[in-house]
């Protein structure tokens, strides 16, 4: 997994790419703590360039949801594609996250 964070003023966007798996735990946590330290109200994780996520990866997103829910910010998951979208469908992520297609 790789990520890039851009602050667009109204929203902070983390753009992820490649795969989100068990071995990305550290880099994901690092990304989340950068997002938590930022005061922008809307925080977006753009998944359009992610081509694979495993169940550990879903767990990291749930962790992000949990951490951000403790603040007054909102979290949006943006544009899941292919296998990622199918995993979101199976795990009913639409009931837990705001997903922007």
């Amino acid at each position: 997994m790789h990520y890039e964070i851009n602050n667009g003023g109204e929203s902070l966007q983390a753009t992820l790419s490649e795969k989100i798996t068990f071995s990305d735990h550290d880099i994901f946590r690092e990304m989340i703590s950068t997002m938590l330290n930022d005061q922008t109200a809307q925080q977006v994780i753009d998944l359009s360039a992610v081509d694979f996520i495993d169940s550990a990866g879903l767990g990291m997103l749930l962790l992000a949801r949990d951490e951000i829910s403790k603040t007054n910010k909102t979290l949006v998951l943006k544009a899941p594609q292919g296998q990622v979208k199918r995993m979101f469908d199976v795990a009913r992520f639409d009931t837990m996250f705001t997903i922007e297609h």
Binding site: T21, F22, D54, S55, A56, L58, G59, M60, L62, L63, D66, E67, Q83, D89, V90, A91, R92, T95, M96
Partner: protein, 411 residues
């Protein structure tokens, strides 16, 4: 009350951290072998300067061999040319003795002949220093070889303990699964043959499955997978297993069962931890399966004769994330000749040698092949073995996650 108890038998986090630092070697036992007293004294001075405290001496090869046997030194600094037994013979006898913890040997030599130096290494010396000895070199090499030995020794015993602990834990985890005897009973009573396969990616995993008799017609089953693997995932499987053992399995609705379990797990799991689960009831009178899923893998229902496959619906909120999650009861037919196949995501997501995973489509074509290749004579169907063999031929070990696969064949 004077009761003495032996010390710490187990490795601690501090031990682990020690292995990644530099071990303290100042208490290492060093034997200096030289027939010239001045040389022994000089080496002693250097070693004391470097902080070593346990320095012993031998005045010739015979003395050296005797003291190696008695003192079990960690390191020997060995002169070659000595009266009676020389250094070469000491090296030779040392390799014959094959001690459990044979010392590192640094040979000190004035020989500058290539052949002699080669011979010294070939005879098992760990290293050599050229005479006249450069103190800094002697110290650096002494420290280096001792640190290596101490590190490896500590490491080995730490890993032995850890491995034993993990092996025991793994046996405990295998003990959570149904026994062959239980499966025989179920086959005889319900006409449902269960086969299962497990491949561990790791010492401990997050997968398990189970089956339980409800009444004359009905069987409860589940397949569960905690996200991640390793010790934490294993701890969660144990707590869920205990919970399941105490649940009432007579319920009509697998969806309600999942909703109940979900509430329980929401209280127990840490944020980011969750389980996927598919559970259901096989009813041999109704010829049906009622199931509910919490983000499990797609349940596959195959037909032995034709190889046709019907996909179930695995969607549902994972367990342990939101307290008021609701689940849905779904059904599949289950007639003689039907094969229900459940599996953990390692089956579809593990990469082959080109890094390509099977995914749902690939698994379905393996399953179709495996169903068609069964001739069904005498009901001896080796569906699961064939499917796993096809998987094994394609995907190299080790797997990135634990793999559990279970097949339910209606006879």
């Amino acid at each position: 009350m004077d009761t003495r108890v032996s010390g710490q038998p187990f490795a601690t986090v501090a031990d682990v951290q020690n292995f990644t630092g530099t071990p303290d070697v100042s208490d290492a036992c060093i034997l200096v072998v030289d027939d010239i007293e001045l040389n022994r004294l000089l080496i002693q001075v250097h070693l004391i300067e470097e902080g070593f405290r346990q320095i012993h001496f031998a005045v010739d090869g015979a003395d050296a061999l005797d003291k190696i046997k008695r003192l079990h030194p960690d390191l020997v600094i060995l002169d070659l040319l000595m009266p009676k037994v020389d250094g070469f013979e000491v090296l030779e006898r040392l390799s014959d003795m094959s001690l459990p913890h044979s010392p590192a040997v640094i040979v000190q030599t004035a020989l500058s002949e290539q052949d002699e130096r080669v011979r010294v290494f070939e005879m098992g010396a760990t290293d050599l220093v050229t005479k006249p000895i450069t103190p800094v070199e002697l110290k650096a090499r002494t420290r280096l070889h001792l640190e290596n030995r101490f590190l490896l020794h500590g490491l080995r015993s730490y890993h032995e303990r850890l491995n034993r602990d993990l092996l025991l834990a793994r046996q405990m985890q295998e003990g959570l699964l149904p026994t062959a005897h239980q499966l025989d009973i179920i086959e005889a009573r319900y006409g449902v043959r269960l086969q299962h396969a497990y491949v561990s990616s790791d010492e401990l995993g997050g997968d398990f499955w189970g089956v339980q008799e409800i009444d004359d017609d009905r069987l409860f089953f589940h397949i569960t997978d905690f996200a991640g693997h390793g010790i934490t995932a294993a701890l969660n499987t144990f707590r869920l297993h205990s919970t399941l053992m105490q649940q009432d399995h007579s319920m009509k609705s697998p969806a309600n069962y999942l909703a109940q379990l979900n509430k329980h797990l929401c209280r127990l799991l840490n944020p980011g931890q969750f389980a996927t689960m598919l559970c259901g009831v096989i009813d041999i009178r109704q010829n049906s399966i009622t199931y509910a899923s919490a983000a499990s893998t797609t349940p596959l229902l195959g037909q032995l004769s034709t190889g046709n496959i019907q996909c179930g619906d695995p969607s549902g909120v994972p367990l342990g994330v939101i307290e008021d999650a609701v689940y849905e009861d779904r059904s599949l037919p289950f007639l003689p000749g039907h094969m229900l196949f459940l599996y953990s995501d390692a089956l579809t997501e593990s990469p082959d040698k080109d890094g390509v995973a099977l995914m749902d489509e690939g698994l379905q074509s393996l399953m179709t092949n495996a169903l068609r290749s069964q001739d069904g004579r005498n009901g001896k169907v080796e569906f699961l073995d064939d499917l796993m063999a096809a998987f094994d031929a394609r995907v190299p070990r080790p797997l990135p996650d634990d793999l559990t696969a279970v097949s339910f064949q209606r006879l």
